[in-house]
Amino acid sequence: MRVLVVVPAFNEQAALPAVVAEIRNERQRLGIDIDVAVVDDGSTDHTSEVAYSCGARVLRLCRNLGIGGAVQVGLRAALREGYDCAIQLDGDGQHPASEITKLIGALSQSPAPDLIVGTRYRTRDGFRSTALRRLGGTWLRVLLRVVAGLRVTDPTSGFRLYGHRALKLFDQTYPYDYPEPEALAIASAAHLRVAEVPVQMRERQHGRSSISGIAAPYYMLKTTLAVVLSYVRNRRRAVDGEGK
């Protein structure tokens, strides 16, 4: 099995060495063919050089596209180079590479899920985010349930595994800013099988979230509209001829 771990990174030179080293340790422990691709999203620091010196592949975007554009380019690389699946893991150290095994393990379910989301809300351990963020998460959960008929507990989690059908779908379309809940709506509209596995997360090791202050209400408004519109727009999108 060939797996590409996609690490979107914007000015993450401080956190990256530990993140890449953790993934490489996990590769040795699991004995799976895991490659690491750091997507440098137009960083102004030495993110690319640091990632390269750590032994990762580096996809360098010449301008900042935001998290969605960065993730999509990694997924495109995985699809074009024939990887069996891709795993999205944040470059700020929030997602422990040791949890990758849980995402890969979920592929053995029958039928195999196309998109597996690591959720921090199914266990009592680990970092669970602030109360305000959890409130926002609850709203998105209800929204996805009502609009897309999708039951997920952690719609904003960026720790995900994309199977082949998900790679094909997101090669065609992927939301650009604050993409996680919207991507779930698109997956549901395109009839992908979405599953969740409990994982532990940490607080970010370096840097700060882009969703704070005045960006928070904008995020909620934009995401709410985007989830509804993306679901409607993608209902007719066919993946392997299974679209409506």
């Binding site: 580096v58 996809l59 360098r60 975007l61 010449c62 999509q72 380019v73 074009r80």
Partner: protein, 126 residues
């Protein structure tokens, strides 16, 4: 019934049209992008020089005052131009994102190929 000609408004329309043409010549604006605006300015100048046409159209379409008709048409035309500019901008943005991604993928391929060539030539030398 005689109508006063609005020379000043016509002159402003012509002046703005000439300014747009100058931008097209200087390649700051494409002809395709400016064409709809130029047509609007020519129509504006025509209306200013032949206001009788506007009055006739306004009364035919149920407007009490020709000025109401004039401003309604102008607002609608500018709204349409703005919407078409937004559509164009969205397309350009989407293409720009795709190009940036393709460039990153190609750049990585080139980097890997260059490193492989360097390795091979270094092995050949030793």
């Amino acid at each position: 019934m005689t109508f006063e000609r609005y020379w000043m408004f016509a002159a402003v329309c012509v002046f703005v049209a000439l300014f747009l043409v100058r931008m097209v010549v200087a390649e700051q604006l494409s002809l395709q992008a400016s064409l709809s605006f130029l047509v609007l300015l020519v129509l504006g100048a025509t209306v200013a020089l032949f206001p009788g046409v506007t009055s006739w159209l306004a009364y035919r379409m149920g407007f009490t005052l020709p000025s109401n008709f004039f401003f309604s048409v102008l607002i609608a035309a500018l709204g349409f131009l703005h919407l078409s500019a937004l559509v164009h901008l969205s397309r350009v943005q989407q293409r720009s994102v795709t190009l940036t991604q393709e460039l990153a993928l190609l750049q990585e391929k080139v980097d890997r190929a260059m490193r492989a060539i360097e390795k091979t030539s270094a092995a050949g030398r030793s």
